[in-house]
Symmetry: C2
Subunit: 175 residues, 2 copies
């Protein structure tokens, strides 16, 4: 294979990954563009500027800017500077375990914590009411709340732990 053909194949593979990761993002409830930018930076050997991201994905400046900021907010990518260049360069967090922790933390924040808050509030309200039905409702909400609290604390600890420490133990346990 010629050098050109090889480079083309490489670019094609990257693009395939980016496209598919984008499609996957929609399943995860994060928007396609955000997932694609993340994929692009994951497989890019060098940090990229906003303009490079725009060009590679054929998206507008506003779109690129918004999603780059969101990804930075999550901690999945970060800004790096190059001396003599005033532009921001973005690179992806490439340590898979750290990626996992970031995602776990974010999901906990967006999913289990709000659920817990709702359950506790409704359990409290229903706790003040009399009658068999109210008792049953209260019991159910309390049980759900306790379960979510448990899930919450598991996620917390898993996300905070070091990979080397925790994973083999869990696997052994589940074996």
């Amino acid at each position: 294979m010629s050098k050109d053909a090889s480079a083309r194949k490489l670019a094609e593979t990257r693009d395939l990954f980016i496209t598919q990761w984008g499609a996957l993002g929609t399943q995860w409830g994060i928007n396609r563009t955000m997932a694609m930018i993340h994929a692009l930076l994951l497989v890019s050997p060098e940090p990229l500027t906003t303009d490079e991201v725009m060009e590679r994905l054929a998206i507008s400046r506003g779109n690129a800017n918004t999603n780059l900021r969101d990804l930075t907010g999550w901690g999945l990518i970060r800004v790096v500077m190059r001396k003599g260049d005033r532009r921001d360069f973005y690179e992806a967090e490439k340590d898979v375990w750290r990626m996992f922790c970031i995602i776990a933390r974010e999901r906990k924040r967006r999913e289990t914590e709000p659920a817990l808050a709702i359950l506790r509030q409704c359990a409290e309200t229903s706790g003040d009411l009399a009658g068999a039905e109210a008792k049953e409702l209260h019991a159910r909400l309390t049980e759900l709340g306790e379960f979510v609290a448990l899930a919450n604390s598991v996620m917390d600890k898993v996300a905070a732990a070091e990979r080397s420490f925790i994973v083999p133990k869990i696997l052994k346990l589940l074996g």
Copy 2:
């Protein structure tokens, strides 16, 4: 508090839970109505018909039907029959551990399995290419793929395990 006032308070608490659970659903990437129907059935002491669901949530028949079917497909609710009545009645799965297993299984199916498929495919493609960049890409995709495979198998085992067996052990481990 009078009996009427008490009943009203109870209904209000249920409605609050339903509304908030619906709002939460949107964070989880499942649609509002589906989450609301689930909440309604979770706090309903009796199984409900499609018409009752429509009325309680003020939604159309088509919407109710679609979401009831989807929830049934997930296994989060199920159809029960009453003798002498030809309508379908729906009730929620109320065992929290079973609910958790169902959600874990569904998320694995919709999130980690497709991710794994993509990573494996792209890793394979990149494995056939020559050059330092291709090698690096291949290594990265392979690493990610292995991590996702690991997460996959953990989810599998957790979802399949019995609550009483697994939870205390994990907690102790993380303590």
